[in-house]
């Protein structure tokens, strides 16, 4: 398991997920509220920047389309924020249209803390560092703000098909 720090262990009764808009408006879901939202089953290939891929992985989670449906925003960018302090940035459009989920089950089992549980972001069309473990929210932004690895040399966007590993790739 790749990790840049100690594994946060967040019990689901203390977990929450917050979308914060560029105006500071907050939309928060408790674990119970998240579980009450329509769940989707997702089978996708994963591509890690450390040069492994895993094909046909099986997840369950809530689409970001569902979570952002009622959120009014003029933002073009998003910064995923995590328990433990990790962040990663993405264009907002990459979180929409069936491309991203808050995933909480993997291979029909609850997502273990080592894999980012209780819930992680799943954005399979980008390198896997964008699929932030232990996600606790999304900050919507008018300007792009680089995250943890993006401030340390990794590519701002991270398209595996264009091998966008490092800045300038």
């Amino acid at each position: 398991m790749l990790t840049a720090g100690p594994t946060p262990r967040v019990p689901s009764d203390r977990w929450e997920f917050t979308v914060t808009t560029e105006t500071g408006q907050r939309h928060t879901w408790s674990w119970q509220q998240m579980m009450a939202l329509p769940a989707e089953t997702i089978t996708v290939d994963l591509h890690c920047v450390t040069k492994w891929s895993k094909l046909g992985t099986h997840w369950q989670g809530v689409s970001l389309d569902t979570l952002l449906a009622e959120v009014e925003t003029a933002a073009d960018y998003a910064l995923a924020q995590c328990y433990g302090g990790y962040t990663t940035n993405l264009p907002l459009e990459d979180l929409l249209d069936g491309q991203a989920w808050v995933a909480y089950r993997y291979d029909d089992e609850d997502l273990a803390a080592e894999h980012g549980g209780p819930a992680r972001l799943l954005v399979p069309h980008l390198y896997f560092w964008k699929s932030a473990k232990w996600v606790r929210g999304i900050q919507l932004l008018l300007e792009d703000e680089p995250g943890f690895w993006e401030t340390a040399g990794y590519h701002d966007y991270g398209d595996p098909w264009r091998e966008q590993r490092y800045q300038g790739d």
């Binding site: 398991m1 790749l2 720090g5 302090g85 401030t151 340390a152 590993r165 490092y166």
Partner: protein
């Protein structure tokens, strides 16, 4: 909390390449809590896209190294200073 880290000696190769000297004996001060100790005492998470060194006292990130094929990035935001022994 799990212990997925090794000690700061894991930084030796990449830092040697950048500074052209052994940096593990350098003494760093954490910008977060003020901890002062040898680079070798840091907690290094290396199963990651780069090396992430955390303070053994407060666990804040004090140093990161990302090594690309033909360049490296060094982030020292979490380090207040590094005291580097030099020959007199």
């Amino acid at each position: 909390m799990s212990n997925d880290y090794v000690d700061g000696n894991a930084l030796a190769g990449d830092l040697q390449e950048i500074f052209a000297m052994d940096m593990t004996a350098a003494t760093g001060r954490c910008a977060g809590c003020g901890y002062r100790g040898a680079v070798a005492t840091l907690r290094v998470y290396q199963r990651a896209p780069g090396l992430v060194a955390r303070c053994p006292s407060c666990e804040k990130v004090v140093l990161r190294v990302v090594r690309g094929p033909d360049r490296a990035w060094l982030d020292l935001r979490g380090t207040l200073n590094l005291e580097i022994p030099l020959p007199s």
